[in-house]
Symmetry: C3
């Protein structure tokens, strides 16, 4: 039977998301099945500025939507972000080494057939609508995560 | 043989603890054996304002006890806490969706038979006494965590 | 066949690194094979002030090298660091309990035969040279991490 990896994407940090998507791409290249389950801040990675909506949202949900990152390139660093200056510096250093940005790794993961799950409860609490996130995202509960993780050879909380 | 999950509860963040206890409850509902091993800041999740003591503590231990969160509802968010305003906002959003607070998930885990271990070294260093934490907590070393994790189908560092 | 643990050392925090190295030492004492894969901030744990260099580095790499922690004892806490005061307090509390500092656990792990891998991409982006880190570090890609993790009984993202 094939090998499998399940990543619980909790943190919405640029650097941690980069590490996770680099792993997801590498695992797919090695023919490992990959599931990424997005919860809480992790859901911000899958937002896109073009698909934001404020329809049918409470005031708190609207405010929350405005205050949180709007897609991969809008995420802060987990450390030394310095209001974005630290992150800008890291991006320049990545460019110097011709390392792709997060968006490219997210696109790679989508093309390589990574499975994307969004946590139902997190989406309800944060007021995120399915149409605001990537189209292949399936909405599932924590039970689905546990089931996937039980069947996996690697599970990581990121 | 039954399936098993072991969570290393390191971070004392409200949102991360919520994710962990939601998983613990879901896993128990699926008949998965669950062990939660609390170390460092994670121990603050199991404190209770009524059982705090300053007896036989050094001055540093007393100060540390005062500065750290005093139970589940006193924990900060890992992000956007804004001195508690961000957390209050999240709690209001959870109430709007009738999502239970952390305390309810901790109680659920206790009722469902999750095993609770406390890291001996962390408790000694932080000066936390057994009677300050939940009564079913067993005090164990890192070796016990490794043994439990080796026997588990899922292990996560949270 | 023997048991195996693989730790992905992403965070460069003193408390998280301490937890990881305590686990690595405990696992080796239980005859578990241990691999630690250092990426991003985690690489700072393996720096040493005596082996720093600025040769063949871009200006950003030099700045980055100056702003990031220079070895185990220079790491901040993940919480309550308070510009180092919180960390100093934790160290005093550790001394009161005769708990060794991080450096001792790193040395223990090296003596006990833990395998050390450094993430190639992270080192290139951050401009870290092999000779700035511990000599037994082998430089590997994310594919090596996935391979090691697939063969492990425990995998944790720290």
């Amino acid at each position: 039977m094939g090998k499998k990896m399940t990543l619980l994407m909790f943190s919405g940090d640029y650097d941690k998301a980069l590490a996770a998507f680099i792993m997801a791409n590498a695992a797919r290249e090695m023919d490992v099945e990959v599931t990424m389950f997005f919860a809480f801040w992790g859901l911000c990675i899958l937002r896109s500025p073009e698909h934001m909506t404020t329809e049918n949202k409470t005031n708190f949900e609207k405010m929350f939507g405005m205050m949180t990152p709007k897609g991969p390139e809008d995420l802060p660093l987990s450390k030394m972000n310095f209001s974005g200056i630290g992150k800008q510096m890291l991006l320049e250093m990545m460019d110097d080494d011709e390392a792709p940005h997060l968006t490219a790794f997210v696109e790679g993961a989508r093309k390589k057939g990574v499975k994307f799950y969004g946590c139902k409860l997190s989406m309800e609490v944060m007021g995120l609508k399915k149409e605001e996130l990537i189209p292949e995202l399936e909405i599932e509960t924590a039970h689905t995560f546990i089931q996937e993780a039980l069947e996996s050879d690697i599970q990581l909380f990121i």
